[in-house]
Amino acid sequence: MTESVDRRRFLKVLGVTGAGAAALSACGIGPEPTERLIPYLVQPEDQIPGTATYYATTCRECAAGCGLRVRIREGRAVKLEGNPDSPINRGRLCARGQAGLQGLYNPDRIQHPLVRNANGTFDDIDWDGAIQRLAAKLREAQGKGIVFLTGAEQSSFGDLVDEWMKQVGGRRLSYEPFGFEALRAGNRMTFGTASLPSYDFGNAKYLVSFGADFLDTWLSPVEFQNGFSQAHAFDAGRPASMAKFVFVGPRMSLTGMNADEWVAARPGTEGTLALAMAQVILSQHLARVPADASRLVSVLGAYSPSAVAQAIGIDADTIVRLAREFARSGGGLAVAGGMATQYANGAEIVAAVNILNYVAGSVGSLIKFGADLAIGSTNTFADLTALTSDMTNGRVALLFVHGTNPAHTLPGAFQQALGKVGYKVSFSSFMDETAAACDMILPDHHALEQWGDSRPRAGVTALQQPVVQPVFDTRPSGDVILKLSGKTGTFQDYLQGKWRTRHPKDFDQYWFDSLEKGGIYGEAPTRTVRLAEGVAKIGFGALAAPAVPDQQVIVFPHPALHDGRGANKPWLQELPDPVSKIAWHSWVEVHPDTAAKWGLATGDFLLLKSSFGAQKFPAWITRSVRPDVLAVPTGQGHTAYGRYAKDRSANAFELLGGEATTYGGRSFIVGATATKTGEHRRIVTTEGSPRERGRGTVEVLGLARAKALHPGEAPFHHEETPEYASDAVAWWAERQHEQAEIGNYKGEQPRWGLAIDLSKCTGCAACVTACYAENNIATVGEELMQRGREMSWMRLERYWLTDEHGEPQGAVNSPMLCQQCGNAPCEPVCPVYAAYHTPDGLNGQVYNRCVGTRYCSNNCPYKVRYFNWYNYAERGGQYEAFPEPLSMLLNPDVTVREKGVMEKCTFCVQRIRGAQNQARLENRAVKDGDIVTACQQTCPSEAIIFGDLNDKRSQVYELAGNPRGYHVLAGLNTKPAITYLARVVAQDTPSHG
């Protein structure tokens, strides 16, 4: 019996010319190779093949401590979701959290212990041998200086390290490169307490951020973004409809882009502005001020708006207006952080903003001390520099490093100091710069493979449990430490022991309940704070301007790569930066006026040379930065850390000094000369157009106009169809639909639709990474992305919003994905019926029918169809996207596409079918809320709602009828299933260019 050749194989043979007699199965011709099925010996109880099991644990990608629910399929972690039980992230997860999977299955993980040999390279060593050797080193180093360096680690593991260090006569330091030293010092100056409070963004009525990037990296971004969305989104049912957000800072970060107004204050003068606002509030009696604030009158006397306006660089009238708006809102919240707290006068700026909050009455209501944040208890940068100097002077004989990479963030100084340490041990899972310089590496389990807990804020203890078997021969560092300290038992025993003391009665049930919920979630009581004694004596000096010819260069944390730890994850590298839309490399932000002076174009390299180091960055010309300031992101420029991170672009930390500021922090603003090197590169960007130009892709409304809308109103004008096309657009489509016999056209089946509220979307791109994770989307790498071959099914389009002078005030972000058009241009042009309309309203894409003519993508006006130009899934291929073991994170419910196939968003059809199957098994109908797309599930702003447009009681139906709703490119009559709700800006006349 001959095996007939199927269509795809036939076409493959045609394509393989002159290949000779290739092995039959290798090029896919001939009978299918025999599959073998190997069963379990003993069936695991919690696994049903084909269905998922979910475990609660904690994300450790940053110090916020968001809860996770991990979706496990057949023992592999395939998707991370937020844990709805956690009060920190409430079921939502950011892009960095989603990318945690790529840390677990990273192909460059250290797979077993390593020890440095006489030649300077690493040898493999077994665990017992390594621990024995280390025990000997430990004995030798007694009394000679033993230090254990961790990241932010307020946890049982941190307690264990503290106990062990006490036992051996050493000490522990916890170091975060973007620690919040200025916040702590500023709070101590104003309120007498160095702790970091929790902030209630959700109930704020007016928000001013002095540099604090609370949507990017500041403290607890997912929590704050969720709260921000509640306060700032347009809700016609509330008296004020929305809280206005003003951003004060020298560059627009992701947070700044979401502002309704951008105040580009001179760097270092943010505090002055806060004091001027406080002065206006006090002197004009605009708020019910606490009694002890009368002490401030003398301090604030010198900060009247007219006195300070010029120093800040804005009008006195603006200051007065801002102060009035802030106080009269009845719920003003001012936050200081980010760049504003990383100058030399950062602590004073925090103190100034604290005064503003105090005077407006937000301390105790929107700002609560008591539920303090744990990241406020790490050591400071000053402590790290003291350690570095101890190391350099030979006072550290044995150093342990866990969960931090100071050789990258403090290059030069720390790297050299490491050379003077007797013996260095790293617990890193990856060969980062610090590990590469160590003498022994005892790789820790990934956070998803081990037990642990963390206390991100007072009242909340997040529990961490292993959700998969360890991928490699690694060991939990807690186990190693217990062994070295001569104790019996594993870290799991230690952890349970600690938890048992908290609740000795009925411990087993308590433990089980905590594991199910992912931790213990309590509310710590608020404590009242008053102004400190010395508040009148704070010296609110301004930042000195740099010496000529230096430029002020601001180093800011990249929202996805942060301090560099995200650089080894291809999802994060491929994620375009929310502001610049640049991926895979760093850049320097230059204002067009400055660029014109220098004759600089986007892509020209600038060499930035400070007194500490020099690095070159390609320029990105943008109006989102002050003309007298240059800005560079951190994250790239690794010299180790795996194939995705190594030798890529430049390390911004090289430009910074190693001296601590007076408050113990680090200054992230530095004077540097900027010279053109003459080199040029094409930058890797996904930006199509910086401005929307009235094309109908986004709609923005002023607040007054939005409030005046009534149901049924259609305030948006769309493009007139030209004469020659009007027949085609109007007549043909309607005739087709009249003749449609099936499915959603007749109302018999659901019509799946999405509603995206642009007044909630911040552009954070968590949805993009979640989509990559859920749908097995390939990362194509820098070279292909430069050629526009990125595969992101969902992209974020960022369009600047400008004021009447053309200066950007913010940006509107629009997620663009397949619109699942009711009248799709891509369907009639597919010659093989691979793109077709399903009865339930989806634009279906059948991968096995697709022959790759790409006519569908050609015809798509939204350009949301993506073609597999290369075989990204091929093992060992040139553009391999899933090198082992990264392929373990692939979602088994979604087909992995091969070369020659078109793909696009499917509204997570696998989830739709899964919910329909489940409903059928349970003899019920699918209800609204059963199906949640990956983007919807992760969005911290809750901007995306999925549902059945034919169900009049569904949320999406209600939102689709909202007067703010519109369709993108509505004039083309594509009848999209996605309704966007216009962004509302709390300004009277926002123009967008």
Partner: protein, 124 residues
Amino acid sequence: MYCHYSAAVSSEPGIPALQTCIGCHQLIGGSTPSHQAEIKKVRDAWRERKPPEWVRVHALPGFVRFPHMRHIKALGAQSCATCHGEVQRMPQVTQVSTLRMGWCVRCHLAQTPPVTRDCSVCHY
């Protein structure tokens, strides 16, 4: 469904663990010499802690998603023979249906009322 235990709740039928096989076959040794020889293989595998490598008989291509539980729900728990034949009487399991798409669609359309023939229900 004792052996292929997840067929009624999942897309995957579930390959029984060796422990499931030995559950019966520790007592059931077989009535004929050929039966006994086969069952001895199971007992040997259990003793050596080495599960057998089954040769897959029914395999659909990777671009088809077949939900077992929907079909068992619709056709009943005794309906395995509809597609797989009388497996309980086969000395060695063979594939009796073509499992090609035309065969699937024909059965879908033969139901009253006809079951969906939408592409995206199986191909996504």
